[in-house]
Amino acid sequence: MKVEIGHGSGGKLTKELIDRVFLKYFDFPELKSLQDATVLPVEGEKIGITTDSYVIRPLFFPGGNIGKLSICGTINDLTVSGNVPLYVSVGFIIEEGTDFEILEKIAESMAETAVKSNVKIVAGDTKVVERGKCDGVYINTTGVGKNVRNLSPLNAREGDVVIVTGFIGDHGIAISLAREEFDVETGVLSDCAPLNSLLVPLFEIPTLRWMRDPTRGGLATVLIEFSESSGLGVKLYEDKIPVREEVRFVCDMLGYDPLYLANEGKAVIVVGREDAEKTLEILKSHELGKNAEIIGEVTGDGSVQLITSIGGVRRLELLEEDPLPRIC
């Protein structure tokens, strides 16, 4: 079965699309009312909220798909900002002619990711646009979480350490190669994963200053932004930054720098030196954080400098553009 323009009409066909695809997988009581809004209880005094739209090409890639990505991305944005993710809304823009089967696969992996991460999908919307007006499916997700920690670059101090939770660049390379513009095959999968179970335990760390998930623009870009916001600098050690051999190889070949490649299941963490070991221990005890490393330290000089593998210094600057468009 294929999506027709009528599936976006708001009438019977729309109900059929919602029932047959989305409600089949999104088994959350809060969603079932199908009213214009869902009423939710929120514990505590502060909530965190975030929204993000996903336009990735291709829709399915090694290690994930646009649906999984849209849940992970929003969970991760909430978590790195000090919130425990609770609820997610989902909005779909679907191209006429899209197979129901494709939508089902996407919805299934969204539900699976949400359930696994203790997050409920509680509101939704679907729209259909004419053939050729979008690339299959675009998804918007908004997330709400309970705010637990106030994390900000302004909390950071000189001498703090910088930690990354695992191998960087996997997502960027997996997407780049999935587009089949280059005749290269590697086994690299996107790292697309929800990070709340890995990172929420860190909310207990007294000197946890700041976290970010280095998606578009990669590790280098988020650290440059950290430096600009905090007025501090970062010294990174190239040798300490975990990069898979295959990723390094493809980067050499295609002229990418792994430091600027997108990740969808990693976090950069700035924490006081006194809590560095404890933080690393918590991370390493989790499957998603077993390759975590201390990769650098916060300095007072206002720039991000990479100490290269030969001991040279390279100053990292913002790139005007992502080397790879439409990666999330």
Partner: protein, 349 residues
């Protein structure tokens, strides 16, 4: 282990580097410049040693006239222009192949042209073959395999030793030593650089692309300078033989001969490129399509000509990183991944 070796090389470089004068060491290879920039090698050098990028990017020096002719060919309904990816975005006064061209395809190696020719028997397939000796040899090999009838070649092939000779004679550049390119040397042979130490007294060392190999080349250069010697050395012996790849050279000169060619931003340099020999007019796109020589126009403010010749660093250009970026290149050095401006933009300094 490697780390210790690098540490030792760097400390030796500091130890024997002459303290009383500036030393300019030029590389003429985009891949060398990549390694130097990416590894932050300049930050490890004594203050008086400058590592300058020279004409190491064939895309950057490809004449504007050749690129415009390629654009115009791709605008013809009966023609498909085929070239390397980097060439698609080279800016000219008539746009780039990507922005102004119509029928074009990208390849990563010359033999892919055959497949395109087979799939499009009713079209003229023109292979825009650009580059230094490293790409000329595969193009010659393609011709040797036998070109399909619908294929012709638009050449913009340049020779490395010849442009280096221009640099040596240019006092404004003031090169003290050369790091000779490993890939090109594999074809032309280390001996091709002998002229620089022997006739011009300039130490020249052939190097590979790993940081330690480049550092070793720099160290050998400094030893020569300290002892007042000028010799040809080769620290990339596993790959580069003194005579080079004789078979590839024979093949190149079977189809091509040395000719006076235009270097973008630099001008006409005698015997610095390769054009088809007369007997191959039938596969020479310049003859088959009767292509004109078009006068070059420089973008205002662009100093790519100075950068290519090692007279200025990319960040000395007013356009660098502001209006001229890899997504919107104003000058050729920002286009190719081997261009000095593009490398400096991506990897900093």
């Amino acid at each position: 282990m490697k780390r210790e070796r690098i540490k030792e090389l760097v400390s030796l470089i500091h130890e024997i580097s002459p303290k009383d004068r500036k030393i300019k060491i030029m590389n003429v290879c985009g891949s060398h410049e990549h390694t130097i920039t990416y590894s932050g090698m300049r930050s490890l050098m004594p203050e008086n040693i400058e590592l300058i990028p020279g004409p190491g990017c064939p895309v950057c020096v490809c004449s504007e006239s050749d690129v415009i002719n390629a654009i115009r060919l791709s605008q013809r309904d009966d023609t498909i222009l085929v070239t390397y990816g980097d060439m698609l975005r080279v800016p000219t006064k008539e746009g780039s192949i990507r922005s102004s061209g119509r029928n074009y395809k990208m390849v990563s190696a010359p033999h892919e042209v055959l497949k395109i020719a087979k799939e499009n028997p009713e079209k003229n397939v023109v292979f825009f073959s650009i580059g230094f000796e490293t790409t000329t040899a595969p193009t010659a090999a393609l011709i040797e395999m036998g070109l399909p009838e619908n294929v012709t070649i638009l050449t913009s092939q340049k020779l490395t030793p010849e442009i280096m000779e221009v640099l040596v004679k240019d006092e404004e550049v003031g090169v003290d030593a050369f790091i000779a390119p490993g890939h090109v040397s594999a074809i032309v042979g280390a001996n091709a650089w002998r002229i620089f130490p022997e006739e011009y007294g300039i130490p020249t060392v052939v190097a590979g692309f790993e940081p330690d190999n480049l550092l070793l080349a720099i160290l050998r250069i400094l030893y020569q300078l300290r002892e007042g010697r000028a010799e040809l050395e080769n620290v990339y012996r596993g790959v580069v033989r003194p005579e080079g790849n004789v078979k590839a050279q024979e093949l190149m000169y079977k189809y091509f001969e040395k000719a006076d060619v235009n270097w973008r931003g630099i001008g006409l340099i005698p015997k610095s490129g390769l054009e088809f020999r007369k007997e191959y007019d039938n596969i020479n796109a310049k003859k088959v399509f009767n292509l004109p020589e078009i006068k070059e126009e420089k973008v205002k403010g662009c100093i790519c000509d100075k950068i290519v010749l090692g007279k200025a660093y990319p960040n000395e250009c007013k356009l660098f990183g502001k209006v001229c970026t890899p997504s919107n290149p104003k000058g050729p050095c920002m286009v190719s991944m081997e261009g000095a401006c593009n490398i400096w933009y991506r990897f900093g300094r």
